[in-house]
Symmetry: D2
Subunit: 194 residues, 4 copies
């Protein structure tokens, strides 16, 4: 699985910690947003990046976040086919994978992030990718949860414009910043399907 | 301010607790989703209800939720003009109001909901509506956060179809269930602008 | 390692969940407090049981708790040689084992205990017993943390009466209830050193 | 009410934040441990300070803490008449005041302490001192909780040596450091009863 890590500016000092924790999962990790030293991307920009990464198929899963996680979450959720949860601990992570089976998570990287925040990140990813997604919890609700996920996927297509149409309408400056951000551009060029 | 409370089925036993906590805020509360005894609405349905309530102007603010809060969050966020945060405690609530100034929150009403969960709800609403929304936190980032909120509002319009178009495309069964749900229908009839 | 599980009455319905999660650690588990169906022990009584279990050497580690965890914690900490932390998630658990290396934990079994509370318990024990206790965190403070643990052990002896003396002074009714509680009595008879 | 704030070294940078939040409660606050710039007190030392402050009557309430809160908690709980809870949010605070009615709290000042940690402290103290302590929660258990608090107070006397005896036995270096720490010494000299 290709996982894109896309940090925004206010919590970019946490990027190395998220990256290290993600690498421990054994997946292919692409660090294409802000790093500790570089990048001044806002969550508006990283949310669009999540939309592009998932809609082009460049990424199978996106990990983002911001100070509280709410900004990136709402920004990424503007795009079709993005199903993003706000994940603060390992229990959130496992439940989100089992109930919602989404393809994106948003982390709170300033609020509540103190000592051993890096350890918490390791625990989050450990449980996020532990069990096959979408098995349901509690198990007797598995079927109705599956039905809800399917309906949600359809609704996401129905309520959003086509992604090409979106790219033609979305704020120019935001799109240009995103597509000129070298690590991201190279990632999409290499793995995205036009 | 008119606040619509829209509970889904799996946590409907918590509806009276959320309702009581909301009433203590002094706002006009409309309890239009599941109640403790009635309604079998899924988060797919309550998410559409949030979209309709906000896009028709019937509600100024929507309070929803589900077992973990992630399902209603992702469902409500499918619609234009809905800016929903996942709120688990009073600090989340205050920060969301100050940084994001959204118009919708999703509550975790089964996960982590035990003794004094009702007290936690009271604390959440107390801080959610304490200070004028959107003042920024930390304060030196107020301006850039305001800019992000404005951009997000524009992007929400650009990425979604028009709301009328959405209603014509969205899953029929879901829309019919929602519009035949009496408390909700009456609320929209009374307060929604066509 | 012999672990004594000692539940009090207000959260005794959670006993089977704690027991199952503890058994998964591979240690020897002795369920000697309230069970889902039996026992009306208060945290005053279970705290004394923790003191006896650890001071007789019957248990190497005690797991207790109450509605919020604070009551059992304060009760168990009345006795010499008991070093009890309040543990609410897996990060608490790991940090407590690494920094404090205690021999007792108190769980919040009503407050915040909802959906998947059993999963949270599994995560807690998984990390509590993952690494050798007392290695220190952050690592550069390992030495000073070791010094603090040694000092604390000495202070515990200096501030408390001898355990035999304590048993002769402590509230009669509490001691009798505890020593007449069959599962506990049998446990102490089998494993405690006089 | 006289509240002693007693910070240890690893989280002393948070002292100004705790102090400010405490002052907002309207109580008399005595900042007698580490400050942001001064003091290298360990939790072993601050725990003893809590014991002295409460046993001499210099303080009615002690606020301490450490990186995770567990160290100060276990250290302060070594002394008779100290009833200390671990408090991480405003719900913990209110429940501890209502159920346990203790005279000491320990704060986690590095773990989970990030953005708006200062706001969280304000919320904690707001609820800790909101309602008269010891009213019970849930209310139908008020009487049994009152009984438990009374028993606990008696047990604390029974299990510990007399405080004068403790001072004569406790680690010399620890006691000397504490009694030579000027802000603390002045506080005890002014308000402690011999």
């Amino acid at each position: 699985m290709r996982i894109a890590l896309i940090n925004e500016v206010s919590s970019r000092d946490k990027n190395p910690l998220v990256l290290e924790a993600l690498k421990a999962t054994g997946n292919e990790i692409f660090n294409v947003g802000c790093t500790a030293d570089e990048g001044a991307l806002t969550y508006i920009q990283t949310g669009l990046m999540a939309g592009i990464a998932l809609n082009t198929g460049a990424a199978d899963f996106v990990v983002g976040g911001c100070g509280t996680g709410q900004g990136f979450l709402m920004s990424a959720m503007q795009y079709p086919g993005v199903f993003c949860g706000l994940i603060q601990d390992s229990l959130d992570a496992w439940l989100f994978s089992q109930i919602n089976g989404g393809n994106c998570i948003s982390l709170a990287l300033n609020k509540g992030f103190g000592w051993a925040g890096d350890v918490n990140l390791k625990y989050i990813f450990e449980k996020l990718f532990l069990d096959p997604p979408g098995r349901g919890y509690p198990l007797h609700r598995a079927e109705s949860q599956q039905a809800s996920r399917n309906l949600l996927a359809g609704i996401s297509r129905d309520t959003h414009r086509d992604f090409i149409d979106i790219l033609s309408r979305v704020d120019r400056a935001t799109l240009e910043t995103v597509m000129n951000y070298k690590p991201f551009k190279e990632f999409i060029d290499s793995y995205g399907k036009a």
